[in-house]
């Protein structure tokens, strides 16, 4: 087992002393026997299903690979999978069940931020370990939560300056009118100001709205150089088709589309032409690691419509957890957290190297600038490697010093110590 672990570490960027590993490894001489149980609560039905079925598949692929290679600490991975139906109440019910009845060692759960917030009190009540693998609006500083998806500073600090440099300084934002959209819009606003650009408009749209004629007209009136579209959900995705039909023709930037909902595959061209997305993975990434990954995935799930970023994140999340348990030598939560706090939990993922930041328990990512062409072909004009989730740490969230259990935002940062 050690070989597998050192294999990861050898290729990790932050190779450090083995002292911490020896320490935690020694205390955990397999007090638990039998398989390691990993809970998976991801939507297989309901409104998010299109983007989240891949999360179940990703976890299954990772578990199968790890088991084929001998498991974690010699123990098999056993997945406990439920379908919460994109329904927050089901998340609550099933999270209780998975922690209390199924006694899982760790749980991977949730697409929407609402589902994460719904289960977080339960995770905290049982003091369990929770991996949230989705990209989100950022700011969760919670000792029990490891958030491995990309956060706004990773996606926008790369995207916004590039867009302004390439297309011009006048930016218009349309965003879903809820936490994710509002906080993302706040990031865009800040970055546009920092980069000397100008916000020429900002519009928030309730979830579920599917008709955009007025919005399109407002954008035309403001005539921006860059349109940031932070739209969420399948109803709001209708914007692109309607904008294309009205011949809007303004370069678009986003952190949500393409990588999650693979709109470039689902819509007829040229609806998404001129779209730029910063993502930590899409199926079209052509590195060797990614090509191999796609091959393994399609061998296991030949009918997969698209291998999206959430799918890869879920896959990588399992490996990151495996790495932490290998280092800790046990699945006991405090020991696993201690391993994470060494700052040395990394994995060479299909996207590139991913490491967990010990202060915020978020992950660093390789960020790809994905450009959608007239015929919806994908090109990747720029790649940023090792982009850190810096904001929470800078704002004062340091889980190695003190446990928190809250979600902070730029306008509502952690209280000063």
């Amino acid at each position: 087992m050690r070989t597998l672990q050192t294999h990861w570490l050898r290729r990790g960027a932050l190779v450090a002393g083995a002292a911490g590993i020896a320490l935690s490894g020694a205390t955990a001489v397999a007090q638990d026997e039998g398989p390691i149980r990993i809970g998976v609560l991801e939507d297989q039905s309901g409104e998010f299903a299109a983007a989240t079925i891949q999360k179940v598949h990703g976890a299954e692929l990772a578990a199968a690979e790890i088991n084929a290679a001998g498991g974690i600490l010699g123990r098999e991975i056993e997945l406990v999978i439920y379908d919460p139906q994109s329904d927050n109440r089901r998340y609550q019910e099933l999270m209780r069940r998975i922690l209390q009845r199924d006694n899982v060692d760790v749980v991977f759960a949730g697409f929407s931020s609402a589902s994460r917030e719904a289960v977080r009190p339960i995770v905290n009540q049982f003091d369990a370990l929770y991996f949230y693998t989705n990209q989100y609006e950022g700011g969760v500083c919670d000792a029990n939560v490891v958030a491995t998806g990309a956060v706004p500073e990773q996606q926008f600090s790369t995207l916004v300056p590039w867009m302004m440099e390439t297309y011009g300084p006048r930016v218009y934002t349309i965003a879903a009118d809820y936490n994710f959209g509002q906080i993302s819009a706040e990031w865009v606003r800040q970055l546009v100001e920092d980069g000397g650009g100008e916000m020429v408009g900002e519009e928030f749209i309730p979830l579920g709205v599917s008709q955009f004629s007025q919005t399109i007209q407002n954008i035309q009136e403001a005539a921006p150089d860059v349109l940031m579209t932070l739209l969420v959900g399948t109803a709001q995705a209708s914007f692109y088709e309607q904008a294309a039909a009205a011949d809007l023709g303004i370069p678009m930037g986003s952190s949500v589309n393409v990588a999650q909902g693979y709109e470039h595959r689902r819509f007829d061209p040229p609806a998404l032409a001129g779209m730029h997305v910063t993502a930590n993975y899409i199926e079209e990434v052509e590195t060797q690691a990614s090509l191999d990954f796609v091959e393994r995935w399609r061998a296991m799930f030949p009918d997969e419509v698209y291998i999206n970023q959430p799918g890869q994140n879920s896959y990588v999340g399992i490996y990151l957890y495996a790495a932490a348990v290998e280092m800790a030598g046990t699945t006991e939560k405090e020991a696993v957290r201690a391993a994470i706090q060494t700052g040395e939990i990394c994995h060479d993922a299909p996207e590139g190297q991913v490491c967990i930041d010990p202060a915020s328990q978020h992950a660093s990512h390789t960020i790809y600038l994905v450009q959608v062409g007239e015929d919806h072909s994908i090109s990747i004009p720029q790649v940023w490697e090792g982009i850190e989730p810096y904001w929470l740490g800078e704002a004062g969230c340091d889980l190695t010093v003190r446990d928190h259990d809250a979600q902070y935002t730029p306008s509502n940062p952690p209280p000063a110590e």
Partner: protein
């Protein structure tokens, strides 16, 4: 000045078309049969899916949309025969039954056809007025909405079926005494309602994301329009769509999408408070 007047008119017409097309099928089923059809969104989804499949198979757009409407209509007739017919005398139970149908349809589609379906692009391109450019297709939708209302008026007032249908609704015992096969009239009426939902789905299919839950994007607006309109399709739904489209276009224009939605819902509450039987109940007041 002129371009911005046109812009507002366009927004109004766009909202009007959406409300009319979304609500027409629901209005017929509610107004003529008293059935509250919570599966309305799924008939729309059915129409959209069939339309896109037909278009991808090479049929021209109008034929594909007709296929979508027809498919939804046939499904509607089958469901009427199997389920709705037995519930006509207890309309509130149709809420539960059609909600059950809706669950089965949405999740069944997800299981059988997958979580999403590739779309088809919007035809006919765009045109410009002043600084704004618009989709030609959306102007076409407005025209179709108006034509649909005229067509429905003719259907229910000038054809044998229409007269029989209205007789069946108003005096069921009399109609059956006169030898009208009321069961057939009900099936046809439900089928027409479902086909109109399918038509809405087909017409909006090129402009929207195709997912099994797409019907929910229509359902609130459709219900709101029908209820503000009251029982009658022409004297109710049409004026209701005018009023609500105006409120919505104005609120979105002034205060943004959030208030467009909230304004719409508040308009319903106010209209129903003032006119407890909807606009058509008010227009037809006293005629009993």
């Amino acid at each position: 000045m002129l371009p911005s007047i046109f812009a507002f008119l366009f927004q109004f017409g766009d909202a009007f078309a959406f409300l009319v097309l979304a609500a027409a099928g629901l209005a017929i089923i509610f107004g003529m049969m008293g059935v509250i059809n919570l599966a309305h969104g799924e008939f729309i989804m059915c129409g959209a899916y069939v339309t896109v499949a037909a278009a991808r198979a090479g049929l021209p757009m109008p034929a594909a949309i007709a296929c979508g409407a027809l498919a939804a209509g046939i499904v509607g007739i089958v469901l009427e025969r199997l389920v709705i017919q037995r519930l006509l005398h207890r309309p509130l139970d149709t809420i539960v039954a059609t909600w059950g149908i809706s669950l089965i349809a949405t999740q069944g589609t997800l299981i059988v056809l997958g979580s999403t379906m590739p779309g088809i692009g919007t035809p006919f391109g765009s045109f410009s007025v002043g600084e704004f450019s618009y989709s030609v297709y959306r102007v076409l939708l407005m025209a179709i909405a108006v034509l649909l209302l005229i067509g429905l008026y003719l259907l229910f007032h000038k054809t044998r079926y229409g007269v029989l249908a209205r007789a069946t609704i108003q005096v069921p015992s009399m109609a059956s005494a006169l030898g009208v096969n009321t069961a057939v009239v009900h099936s046809l009426t439900f089928g027409i309602g479902a086909a109109l939902a399918g038509l809405a789905g087909g017409l909006y299919a090129p402009t929207m994301t195709l997912v099994p839950t797409m019907g929910t994007a229509f359902i609130v607006e459709a219900f709101v329009t029908v209820v503000v309109g009251g029982g009658d399709v022409f004297l109710g739904t049409a004026p209701a769509a005018v009023v609500l489209a105006f409120v919505k276009a104005l609120m979105i224009n002034w205060y943004g999408q959030l208030f467009g939605l909230i304004g719409l819902l508040l308009a319903v509450i106010i209209v129903i408070r003032l006119l407890p039987r909807g606009l058509s109940g008010w227009i037809l007041r006293g005629r009993e």
